[in-house]
């Protein structure tokens, strides 16, 4: 009996340990980089920096961050995507007017774990900075830098531009829930900051989840109801559809402290603060949802046109219920593109411009080819494991992916094609 009681105590103790050791997904802030080298530097136009894009290789120094890198330029950052473990470097930049160099400061991190550190680079005037600034030529660029503490030296050299295949075949890389989850970014899923910074992690579009509030405002939220996975603990419980947008703005916050955004707010940030092109609206199927989406999407297109931005905002049709809602608002389909997840035939029947099969359905080569002959692009979702990403890029003919791990997609697509 005494032994049984002892075991009983051990049992309860184990349960308590397991219970209290459960850990939810945490946001990971980048390490603090004082960025002394950016002090008093001058802003460089994003269009100039865009010329830096291409393939770079390690020319000197430590190889612990990888030996080959894809360089992509977002609205405000330069990012390098490594051939090693999905490592990504995200860098702010500026022109040092006193010596003509371009200075970079930021952080590096593994795509899938908490390992990260600071990193700084410099392109001397004679190492390609002058050519890049004056002529938009990147072929002479050598970046010399240091990372970590104690510092390790690293030098990257421009190797080649992207291949003709890459330059002529646009590949859609959508961040799942606006920001790739696996990268442990410091931004909440479906947040405005997620939209603004998603591009730094390699995406050229976003997928965002859409629900309606009680007063019919489309908001960007994955779950039906409050959940500490997505929101901070506040005084509201229950379904988002039970609350007005005003109450949600006042008394609810995402896990990074941001307000729950309306779709209108997210689309404005998308147009104004990024150079990304694609938005997949993952419609959750509220009654008459397309009636309320139509003016918001229409306004976003009008705003994008006004500021000379090329954007494509397509509504996802993930189920028969959502298709029923879609058909109830024919004026929506007449103006804006859609993506059907069910089958290629359903995409055809609903005049969709995109087909979005779940990745577990396989490569679907016949469907993808048939779609291409009809002008329908196919986006597979959601690919986050590097083996699958590589397999689907090498053996599939998809036009894009949704991914939680965009650094892998960027490197695999731009470097290996």
């Amino acid at each position: 009996m005494r032994i049984n009681m002892k075991h009983q105590h051990t049992y309860w103790l184990l349960i308590l340990i397991i219970f209290f050791s459960c850990n939810k997904n945490k946001l990971m802030f980048p390490p603090v980089n004082p960025a002394d080298n950016l002090v008093n530097t001058q802003a460089i136009d994003n269009a100039v920096m865009k010329n830096m894009e291409g393939i770079y290789s390690l020319s000197d120094g430590s190889n612990s961050l990888g030996t080959q890198f894809v360089c992509k330029v977002s609205k405000t950052k330069v990012s390098f995507f490594s051939n090693q473990s999905g490592i990504v470097c995200i860098l702010s930049y500026g022109l040092n007017t006193s010596d003509g160099s371009i200075q970079f400061a930021g952080f590096w991190r593994y795509a899938e774990n908490a390992t990260q550190g600071t990193i700084n680079f410099s392109i001397a005037k004679t190492d390609g900075a002058a050519d890049l600034i004056a002529n938009g030529v990147a072929s002479n660029i050598i970046l010399k830098g240091v990372f970590n503490s104690p510092q390790k030296a690293i030098s990257l050299k421009y190797e080649r531009p992207f291949s003709q295949y890459v330059l002529t075949h646009e590949f859609i890389i959508l961040a799942h829930g606006t920001i790739p989850l696996k990268t442990n970014s410091p931004f909440a899923v479906n947040s405005v900051n997620g939209v603004i910074h998603s591009e730094d992690y390699g995406s050229n579009g976003i997928e965002t989840d859409i629900q309606l509030t009680k007063d019919y405002v489309p908001i960007c939220m994955h779950d039906d109801s409050f959940d500490d996975r997505l929101t901070l603990k506040g005084p509201l419980y229950g379904d988002f559809s039970d609350f007005t947008f005003d109450i949600l703005e006042q008394y609810a916050r995402l896990i990074d402290g941001e307000k729950i955004p309306s779709l209108a707010q997210e689309l404005q940030a998308f147009v104004d603060s990024t150079t990304m092109k694609y938005v997949w609206l993952d419609v959750k199927g509220d009654e008459d949802i397309f009636k309320y989406l139509e003016p918001v999407v229409g306004a976003a297109y009008a705003h994008a046109k006004a500021v000379n931005r090329d954007v494509v905002i397509f509504a996802g049709l993930p189920s028969d219920d959502v298709i029923t809602q879609y058909k109830k608002q024919p004026s929506y389909g007449a103006q804006f593109p859609c993506l059907c997840e069910l089958s290629l035939q359903d995409a055809i029947d609903n005049n969709c411009q995109f087909f979005g099969p779940r990745f577990t359905m396989g490569l679907l080569l016949d469907d993808v080819n048939k779609g291409h002959t009809l002008g329908i692009r196919t986006i597979s979702w959601t690919l986050s494991d590097n083996t699958t990403i590589l397999d689907y890029l090498q053996n599939g003919k998809f036009d894009g992916f949704i991914s939680d791990n965009t650094p892998y997609v960027v490197y695999d697509y731009y470097a290996l094609h």
Partner: protein, 195 residues
């Protein structure tokens, strides 16, 4: 004198035999299992862990609790427990005054163990419905609810039997709701009816 000794020895032997028979013979009428209902009411304190608007929370509220118990002739008894726990209220100041109240209605299996004739400990596990009521000055009332599937309570109590039917007592009850990580502790004054 000799006879007297024999009588005394005889009485003692008889007493021992009767005692032995009394120890081994099953009772002709075994006691039936008993049931009881308990109801309690009292103040509670909410462990305020809000990350948003923590300063607007009123920590002291009230709890109702009720349970039906099967109380066999063992130290352990089992039953079903429910109640209404006002977890906390939330009041924002003027001008945009909002009053929010959050409550829980648990439905749990409860185990009770007597640690002495008067003291007991309870442990219960189950689900709760979480109720969210919002009153606003400019948008009217908004109501919502949630469901918490893995909740538990623990209590330590004292019970005084007034007679075979009625008892009164008090217990300190800790409640944990996993849905939104709500915790409170209540001091309940409990009345019981045994049948």
């Amino acid at each position: 004198m000799y006879l007297k000794r024999i009588i005394i020895i005889g009485i003692l032997i008889n007493a021992c035999l009767m005692h032995a028979i009394a120890q081994t013979t099953k009772p002709t009428k075994p006691k039936k299992s008993k049931f009881a209902v308990y109801a309690g009411f009292g103040p509670n304190y909410y462990f305020n862990n809000l990350q948003l608007g923590k300063q607007y929370v009123n920590d002291f509220n009230y709890s109702f609790a009720g349970r039906v118990m099967w109380e066999p002739e063992h130290l352990l008894s089992i039953g079903i427990e429910s109640g209404y726990y006002r977890l906390y209220t939330f009041n924002t100041p003027q001008p945009a005054q909002v009053h929010i109240s959050n409550s829980a209605i648990p439905l749990q299996i409860i185990l009770s163990m007597k640690v002495s004739p008067a003291f007991y400990v309870n442990f219960s596990m189950g689900q709760s419905v979480l109720l969210n009521h919002i009153h606003t000055e400019n948008q009217g009332d908004l109501n919502s609810s949630g469901f918490s599937v893995a909740d538990f309570s623990g209590a330590i109590g004292y019970r005084h039997k007034l007679n075979n039917r009625f008892s009164i007592g008090a217990e300190t009850k800790y409640y944990y709701s996993s849905g939104f990580v709500d915790r409170n502790v209540a001091l309940l004054f409990v009345g019981g009816y045994h049948f």
